[in-house]
Amino acid sequence: MLLAGGQGSRLGILTASKAKPAVPFGGKYRIIDFPMSNCINSGVDTVGVLTQYQPLQLNQHIGIGTPWDLDRRVGGVMMLAPHVKREHGEWYTGTADAIYQNADYIDQYNPEYVLILSGDHIYKMDYSKMLDFHKKNKCDVSLAALTVTLEEASRFGMMNIHDDGRIYEFEEKPEHPKSTLANMGIYIFNWSVLRDALERDNKIHSDSDFGKHILPMLLNEGKRMFAFPFDGYWKDVGTIESYWAANMDLIQTIPQFDLYEDFSKIYTDSDHQPPMFTGAGSDINGSILAEGCEIYGRVYNSVIGPGVVVDEGAMVKDSIVFSDCYIGKGVVMERCIVDTDCTIGENVKIGEGDNIINVHRPKIYDTGITVVGEHSDIPDNVEIGKNCVILGKTTPADYQDGRLESGQSIVKSVNPNGVRE
């Protein structure tokens, strides 16, 4: 069961019209491709995807699961949205509530074990090894545990364990952590144990949550809960800066996170199959580029999505460009994230000036990265600073003296669903 209903509000306008798991990553992927591919690579062939916030792109992307070989007669992938029941309907009010509301779906398969995942993280993991661990230790619940430093520990839900791996205590963002094992939000439950816990907790908490309610309750009841150690690459991409940094991890000459090995491949859905083309005047270094790009300008230390055109004389540096964007002639762009289907006009400059934190959303845009939202246009010859936000079809009139100073935003929503920016 893959929890994919979250907004990911700290990703700002990147999640204005798509749920966080649908945000593109690493050129051609979306974040959800990682847990989805992990599932099929681990032999999990029945996957429920729980959606709630802006599910359109997620639904389109997952479809009937063809890219992951999940288009199956029995099992396969099922999109599970909140729905009206006999008496009333309600939104998913918590992570455990979302599973509770879909208990019927799980019951159909009468499984012994249920794997709970979130669609928010970049990692490769063989869940079948975790299941072996779960069975070997006769667990009621097993939780994947990432080893972090003591300094990082205060940002995570931590697990304190006995020598045999059995958990005796959870601590949420502890000031004085006792262990370095962080909860990754990956759980295997015996379905009978989970089903019972969900039913009981539903009577107490209407916003039933795994971290806050279900796991502490089961621990108190003395259930066998074990931490499954994971030491691979794992990144939460919850903020603009961490999202940007995780993308940049991929462009290292020898990356920590290897997409290029043949086992445990990451699968995705893509309209774009054609090769990419590098023009006569192009210069591309330290970058990854997806299918169907045409590069006539310069691209340095960047991640470029499918179908992007970088025209002559343009320079894209330390940036992430999603699919089907046009970067005009002479553009100079540094530390910028450009969402799908944007047009950046000729000679536009992005990322110059002082590092002034965004005045409207100071907690989101504070590390110098300028973000251009989906389907936006930027007119020719304007200059845009750092920590700026641009969304919509902007015109020269939107830029005073042809400039958008660092920390300023232009948000022209044309989205009928409303943009929560």
Binding site: T278, L289, V303
Partner: protein, 371 residues
């Protein structure tokens, strides 16, 4: 859609040398991520044809592998679908396909069980993009029995490799000669035809019963006076993978903006996805005027070349005017010029693979050179 499709992909071609030692000409890799058959097959489905037969014989494994799932061409459907027709034994026949018309004859059940009015036939080793609806509309407008698509063959191409048409002013075929010694015109058939399904069944049965097995020679040429056969002038890009040199040239044509744009724009040429990660350009590399397939990792210099998927190029190597197929690995300090490196070729450090313009050197599939 009122047509079914047949792709003739069973032939062999000596002039392709080592390139077709272990694959059918129609399975030749083209344009960084395609195989030749993707072009006619995508033309079929992009034109709305729902039922396509691919006739295979020579080195068919490579094609069967590529076509193992029809869903990538939108042919995984209950009505219609992709039919791979290979020679088989039955109680009254255990022959290989004796030629094109015979290969259709031995699979007449496919045509008999179809209900569509027309059949579009294409050869599997031609690289082009055509909307067959235009061809069928022309066929109907001319009230033709058979329509043969042709092109005006430029002077720099050897027309003696074509079926050459002579047409009257109404585009009706007066004469059709296969690979003539003294061609009368510059109008070359491009191996794409349309005709009524019932008519094709009737003609194929007739000529095979007479011991004749070739579609062009024994049907089109022979019946040119009895039937209304018309030429359809196709003006788009077209190339036949008829020889090692034409294979090389056809790939290099993808570096021309007009050819590339035509093929890479909507409606897309579909192929079997491999889900390789994005191509990686490391800090030493310089890659200009080239196509690069996904999953490749480039450290050296590349210009005027076609790089397929999953190619690894080490630092200090130089690749120019070459075709590097999927999975090839090129070590440090190699020089590759005017070369075709087949799949999974490995060049050890310092290897030179240098051909001449007009005579590319070919390194066979899976070979390791220089160790």
């Amino acid at each position: 859609m009122k047509a079914v499709g047949i792709i003739l992909a069973g032939g062999k071609n000596e002039r392709l040398g080592a390139l077709t030692k272990s694959r059918a000409p129609s399975a030749l890799p083209v344009g960084s991520c395609y195989r030749a058959i993707d072009f006619p097959l995508s033309n079929m489905t992009n034109s709305g044809i729902k039922k396509v037969a691919v006739i295979t014989q020579y080195n068919s494994r490579s094609l069967h592998d590529h076509l193992s799932s029809p869903k990538w061409w939108d042919l995984g459907s209950k009505n219609g679908g992709l039919f791979i027709l290979s020679p088989y034994q039955s109680s009254d026949n255990s022959l290989w396909f004796r030629d094109t018309a015979d290969s259709i004859y031995q699979n007449l059940t496919f045509l008999r069980r179809s209900k569509e009015q027309y059949v579009v036939i294409s050869s599997g080793d031609c690289i082009y993009k055509m909307d067959y609806n235009d061809l069928i509309a022309y066929h109907e407008a001319k009230n033709a029995d058979i329509t043969i698509a042709y092109r005006n063959v430029p002077e720099n191409e050897d027309i003696r490799q074509y079926g050459v048409l002579e047409l009257d002013e109404g585009e009706r075929v007066l004469d059709l000669e296969e690979k003539p010694l003294e061609p009368l015109t510059r109008l070359g058939s491009i191996g794409t035809y349309v005709m009524a399904r019932e008519k094709l069944i009737e003609l194929v049965e007739t000529v095979v019963s007479e011991g004749k097995y070739n579609l062009v020679r024994d049907i089109f040429s022979r019946y040119r006076k009895r039937l209304r056969i018309f030429g359809y002038n196709f003006k788009g890009y077209w190339c036949n993978l008829g020889s090692t040199q034409s294979y090389f040239d056809c790939n290099m044509d993808f570096l021309k903006a007009d050819v590339r744009k035509k093929f890479l724009e909507h409606p897309y040429i579909k192929t079997k996805p491999k889900d390789e990660p994005p191509a990686k350009f490391n800090s030493q590399t310089s890659v200009v005027n080239s196509l690069v397939g996904s999953g490749s990792i480039l450290n050296g210099d590349v210009h005027d070349s076609i790089i397929f998927r999953k190619v690894f190029l080490a630092e200090g190597s130089n690749v120019s005017n070459s075709i590097i197929m999927e999975g090839a690995r090129i070590g440090h300090g190699c020089v590759v010029e005017h070369a075709i490196l087949d799949k999974e070729v490995v060049l050890a450090d310092g290897t030179r693979a240098v051909g001449k313009p007009g005579a590319p050197v070919v390194i066979d599939k899976g070979n390791t050179i220089g160790e």
